[in-house]
């Protein structure tokens, strides 16, 4: 009798706990789905951004705008070959002439100059921090790099306008360019280099710290000096990290807008070759006179086209550099013949002793 009651109770408890477990499971599933949903929303941002840029960037070519009494869409050929962002209305073809092609050239040029400054500096600085510096100096410089990384771009721009621009002006005057005002491509490139260096350095230092210590010891045991080991073994081993740093830094430099706008001036026309002349790049053109452009006008939409071109450039450069990184850094893959030839050329060129010994 009693055992019956106990049995029943046990069954009851089991049933309840099973129900409970099921409930819990269902709840878990709902919560999991909820989190998944939010993650999807977060990752959809990239789709939204890319979609809007692509759609909005392509509309000016097809949509008919009415501005200043003229109607027409954006000229396709002038977009790539034109030498002015807003060149007005072309009566013959019935299109508005907005040029972006020259902005691309200017952007690549200013970035190239900034890389000439930033890449060697960051490689040597990261080598110094990771392997050469005595401990107190190491701490000081890495803290300095961290601080430099946290400075907002407006402050960089203001610093550029207050310090770099007068500096460039005096350099230009000393070189005999009387007309230079200092607001120039060179000032922009210096600011870009300063801004992209912390990113590069931090990635490079991480990769230099992570290299295999046995390689270093082997090199030292073979009689190479410490400096030779640092430059030839450490740098070579951290190659992929160095490339990753460069790629990140380039990404930051290409997208930078406010600081560059402040120091490069606002010419409206043409490609700049002289580093002491003002220049206009993709990002600065997108910022210039934004207050005067009303949304959904052609002037506003053409900025989306510039943005689309900027995104395409960033993606292309990233793709290219990643490929180069794979070629240079992978051991398994056979380097192409051209690279082998170049390597031989350089080693022979650099090392005259090598040839002498061969002759002997």
């Amino acid at each position: 009798m009693q055992s019956d009651i106990i049995k029943q109770a046990r069954i009851e408890i089991q049933r309840k706990s099973a129900l409970n477990a099921e409930k819990k499971k269902r709840k878990d599933k709902i919560v999991r789905l909820f989190f998944f949903f939010i993650t999807c929303i977060c990752s959809l941002i990239i789709v939204i951004v890319a979609g809007f840029i692509i759609i909005k960037g392509l509309t000016p070519f097809f949509k008919i705008y009415t501005e200043n009494g003229h109607t027409g869409s954006m000229s396709f050929s002038y977009f790539f070959t034109g030498l002015q962002f807003n060149h007005g209305y072309d009566q013959e073809t019935g299109t508005f002439m907005y040029g972006v092609g020259f902005l691309v050239v200017n952007t690549l040029y200013i970035n190239l100059i900034s890389y000439i400054i930033s890449i060697p500096t960051s490689i040597l600085t990261s080598l110094f921090i990771a392997r050469i510096a005595p401990k107190p100096l190491k701490k000081i410089i890495s803290t300095g790099v961290d601080l430099l990384a946290s400075i907002p771009s407006v402050i960089f721009g203001m610093f550029g306008l207050g310090v770099i621009v007068p500096l460039v002006r005096s350099i230009g005057r000393a070189m005999g360019l009387a007309g230079t005002s200092g607001i120039s491509l060179l000032a922009g490139a210096i600011i870009l280099a300063l801004m992209s260096m912390p990113t590069m350095i931090s990635v490079m230092v991480t990769s230099l710290n992570a290299i295999d210590e046995s390689q270093i010891k082997a090199s030292l045991a073979l009689g190479a000096s410490k400096t030779q080991t640092n430059f030839k073994i450490a740098l070579k081993n951290a190659k992929s990290g160095i490339f990753a740093g460069i790629i990140l830094g380039i990404g930051r430099a290409l997208g930078e807008a406010t600081a560059v706008t402040m120091v490069t001036g606002s010419p409206i026309y043409g490609i700049t070759a002289n580093p002491f002349d003002p220049t206009v790049t993709l990002t600065t053109q997108m910022l210039l006179a934004i207050g005067e452009a009303t949304p959904n006008s052609l002037n506003y939409d053409a900025r989306f086209s510039a943005g689309l071109v900027l995104l395409v450039i960033i993606i292309l450069i990233n793709f290219l550099l990643n490929n180069i990184k794979d070629i240079v850094c992978s051991i398994d893959r056979k380097p192409s013949k051209a690279i082998i030839f170049l390597k031989q050329l350089f080693t022979n060129f650099r090392n005259p002793c090598y040839d002498l010994k061969k002759l002997k």
Binding site: G144, S150, P152, R303
Partner: protein, 415 residues
Amino acid sequence: MTLKSLNNEAIFEKKKRFRERVKDFFSVTSTYIFSSFTLIALIAIIVFIFSRGYSTLSWDFITGDYNPTTYVIRTDTESDADRLDNTFDYTPREGEYFSSLWGIGFMDEENNVGEKIVIISYVDPNANINNIVDADNNPFTIEAGTTVNSALLYNDEGRVSIRIDKGAQEVAKRFDECPYILQMSLTTGGDGIRGSFISTLYMIGITMVIALPLGISAAIYLGVYAKENKITKMLRNMIDMISGIPSIIFGLVGGIIFLPIVGGNGNLISGSLTMAFMILPLIIKTTQESIKTIPKSLSDASLALGASQTQTTFKVILPNSLPGILTSALLGISRVIGESAALIYTSGVAILDTVSPTQGSATLAVHIWSLMSGETQNYEASCAISIIILIIILVLSIIIKLISFITERKKRRRG
């Protein structure tokens, strides 16, 4: 023959070693020189900002209005009988010119844009008995530190107009000649950053309210629930890709999405929505990292004790990843404070004194941008704002360091 060649070899070796040593020396020196560049740049930035901005930085600067208040005052002609009897004694400071008839000292100064102005530098304690009223006939008290914009005085012989551009000496002289003010315009305050400061706080608040829940949820999914499959990998890659997009593109897209909704040139809400988009990957990554460091034994123990996955997530994993969440929030805040390009499109560049979230208003960084991008640059005020921004960012990064230090210590104790 062999000896000679051996000797030659030795000399060759020696020369080679010497050459190598010289080369080593130059390589090491080059790393020293190049790594000093970053340090020099940092020091130059800090010295520049502090030397130009320190004098402007004051409590009034932080709490003051951006737009100056202008008063138009005059002498109340109905009750100025004993007006002429007042004379004041005061030894003016250097560069100060004193009007003994009025008891007011004037001084030449330059404003932040570099224009010459005349300010009232001293007011005698008894100088304000002179029946001065403002435009609404209310008694007005002249205070030291106000700028004189224009003044039209008169005496018994007629009107005397004062040329402010001739300097303080001229102004003081004319004031001594005339006992009455027909019309004088004074400006007080201005150039303050209270509005921008408050809109920065609004921006941080709204951005965090939107971005933190989304970011933490996504981090929990990716760190706790997600299985390693193609979809997870794709989601992760997409979130990583967001951080590679330049802020100006975010500005453009944020502008085109939110401006039609909020209208006009955007407001603080549209700006912070854009910022939330921008800092999401940062929050997700940092939080996910901290979830990863939670020992698996903790959540396993919770599950073994019969807690459901949901309970484990909310009661074990979330509290333990609090340092990471805090760090991500602080990183996000410092990103919001420094951002300018995206906000120029989405929340406007107008500097306002009375801020509300439904109005477009400049944050501190955009304030600098609008001060610097005009015809004349206001270095003093922008450097002072930069000092404030840098101090905030420094404090935030110190807090982040502290958090990581404390969690490290805790972990070591536990281990």
